[in-house]
């Protein structure tokens, strides 16, 4: 553990990304204390005003403070990103490892299920799931999680097939190591790299998917501060008031970028073969 942190520490981009993620988490937890104004308070006199000392990031078409809404919005975006991607990572990896390790008809069944899920367009599939479950934040996360599960399943299965017949797995078995220990200590650590990369990519997609679904009226309600909703409602005003789109867009970009560099840093830190200039 200490060794992994030591290697991670030497990657400045990853450390920067981690700091930004910690900042996001802090702002999500302490939104009430940090936000200068209420994210819901409307003002007819201060509609679409540019950035100023009072409204750092300006106001939107209802006169709501964009800075405060972005801080509150980090709650939704982080929640959606972490829970939806966590769900698809755990379920997808489990399915993929079982399919790859067991092979035979179990592999056939799991692979065909992932094929079916793959055949449907992402947003359409999420729409169907949301239509069945009804609009709410929890259902939204579940729907996004299900949509991204087959990606993890397929990557995990491929990686397992690649590693399963390795000599070191046979060696461990021949030395009397139990099956579950082989899975945990030999198989999983060696398939983690592509999965970590996929986690960071999916995180970005999940935030955007939340925005799209909310825009279609299937996510959180439109008055809820969410980066996706802010960005999509800004599209009508951004020609006149650039700040309505730029700041939520910047928040999404920075969050996605941070998760990407942290993911890359983690992948390198976990692989002893990569020397990060120490």
């Amino acid at each position: 553990m200490i060794k992994i942190w030591d290697r991670f520490r030497h990657n400045p981009a990853a450390v920067g990304g981690l700091l930004f993620i910690l900042l996001l988490i802090a702002s999500a937890l302490l939104a009430k204390q940090v936000a200068p104004q209420s994210p819901y308070a409307m003002s007819t006199t201060a509609r679409l005003t540019g950035p100023s000392a009072v409204h750092w990031f300006g106001t939107d078409q209802f006169g709501r403070d964009i800075f405060s809404r972005i801080i509150y919005g980090s709650r939704i975006s982080l929640q959606v990103g972490i829970i939806a991607v966590g769900f698809s990572f755990v379920l997808g990896t489990l399915m993929g490892v079982i399919a790859g390790y067991a092979g035979g008809w179990i592999d056939q069944i799991i692979s065909r299920i992932t094929d079916i899920l793959f055949a449907l367009p992402d947003i359409l599939l999420a729409l169907v799931i949301m239509a069945i479950l009804g609009p709410s934040l929890n259902n939204l996360m579940l729907a996004i999680g299900i949509v991204y599960t087959p990606i993890f399943s397929r990557i995990a299965r491929g990686a397992v097939l690649n590693i399963r017949d390795s000599l070191f797995i046979e060696a461990a078995y021949s030395m009397g190591v139990k099956q579950y220990k082989i899975l945990l200590r030999h198989l999983l650590p060696n398939i983690l790299s592509p999965l970590i990369v996929q986690i960071t990519l999916s995180f970005a997609f999940a935030i955007l998917a939340e925005a799209s679904l909310s825009f279609l009226g299937l996510g959180v309600s439109p008055d809820t501060p969410s980066w996706g909703i802010m960005l999509s409602s800004a599209k009508d005003w951004m020609e006149l008031s650039w700040w309505t789109a730029v700041f939520p867009g910047l928040a999404i970009t920075l969050a996605v970028l941070s998760f990407n560099v942290v993911g890359d840093g983690l992948r390198d830190a976990l692989d002893p073969r990569i020397n990060n200039g120490q």
Partner: protein
């Protein structure tokens, strides 16, 4: 064979076939007989060398004995117990006496685990406590000549020779009775080969290990073995003690192999037997004697009848019509 010696491993009529091209309709289903009716014994404290071209089934034989592959037919008895009939748990208990040294030591070690973790693993699997593990590992790496400060390094930080010594240390960690060495020096250069072979013989003298030594290199086999078995296309064609095999090879294939060993004497006339053709496909082996398509002495009978496995001289077995006829 001295009757006082204890027979540790007895392999009887061992067969293994792999199905290939199996599909839904099994139209093209075929099987490869990788090991076909092989029998031999290995005595405690001795080394049996298995030699043959690549693809002749020598590695498969090693894995069948260790039960890393399930035999299609035949039995493997270890110390009087038939390994093929043991339950999963009983087999697991026996496994600590049966270990394997791999040809490629780098792929046989998990790249994400330190050498220390890799060496600890077999000991942990059989419930050794941490104090004993530490003691055993220090003794082991001392025996194979790896400095203890290297323990926290990863496999990619070692050379091939060092890795193979680590591989040997790991195979011996559980103090096994029987070790299969599957071409342990094939991927190493000459000077390191000698080092590894000497290490293996020294350890054998000290701890009375029994080895099955698999190689395609006759000089290595000569150096290591008490008995030598020659395999060709899934069958054992000749089995004898080392001296008698090298002095009077009976099977034409063994003769051809031995004549191919380079002799470091420019004045000595070379009388090489050149084998014609390629090794046939094991999917569709020749009828009768499998060697007949390349045998310089092949007769009609070789194509029709499978040669019997006969003890022609004391402790010298051979499967060949020509030799057997000549002796009658």
């Amino acid at each position: 064979m001295n009757s006082q010696k204890k027979e540790l491993i007895r392999v009887s009529n061992l067969k293994k076939s792999f199905a290939i091209n199996k599909g839904w309709r099994r139209k093209n289903a075929q099987e490869v007989k990788a090991v076909d009716d092989v029998s031999f014994s290995i005595f405690e404290g001795e080394t049996l060398g298995l030699v043959g071209e690549s693809g002749c089934g020598k590695s498969t034989t090693g894995r069948l004995i260790l039960q890393l592959l399930a035999p299609t037919a035949g039995t493997v008895s270890f110390d009087g117990h038939d390994l093929t009939k043991l339950s999963k748990h009983d087999l697991w208990r026996r496994r600590r006496d049966l270990q394997l040294i791999f040809q490629d030591p780098y792929s046989a070690l998990n790249p994400r685990m330190t050498i220390n973790d890799s060496l600890n693993e077999p000991l942990k699997a059989y419930g050794e406590n941490s104090k004993n593990r530490k003691k055993t590992i220090n003794q082991l790496i001392d025996a194979v000549g790896i400095p203890s400060q290297y323990l926290n390094r990863y496999p990619h930080e070692f050379s091939g020779g060092q890795l193979q010594r680590i591989g040997i240390a790991r195979a011996l960690a559980l103090k096994p009775k029987f070790v299969v060495a599957d071409e342990p020096v094939a991927s190493l250069d000459m000077s390191i080969q000698a080092q590894i072979l000497n290490l293996m013989t020294d350890l054998q003298k000290e701890f009375n290990y029994t080895y099955l030594f698999i190689s395609h290199d006759l000089s290595v086999i000569d150096y290591m073995s008490n008995h030598i078995g020659v395999m060709y296309l899934g069958k054992m064609v000749e089995l004898a003690d080392r001296d008698s095999l090298y002095r009077t090879p009976l099977h034409p294939y063994t003769q051809a192999l031995l004549s191919a060993i380079p002799i470091a004497d420019p004045n000595r006339a070379k009388n090489k037997i050149m084998l014609k053709g390629e090794i046939p496909s094991p999917v569709d082996p020749p009828s009768g004697c499998r060697f007949r398509t390349r045998c310089p002495f092949a007769k009609d009978i070789c194509a029709t009848k499978n040669p019997e496995w006969v003890e022609l001289e004391k402790d010298h077995y051979v499967a060949c019509h020509i030799v057997q006829e000549a002796r009658q």
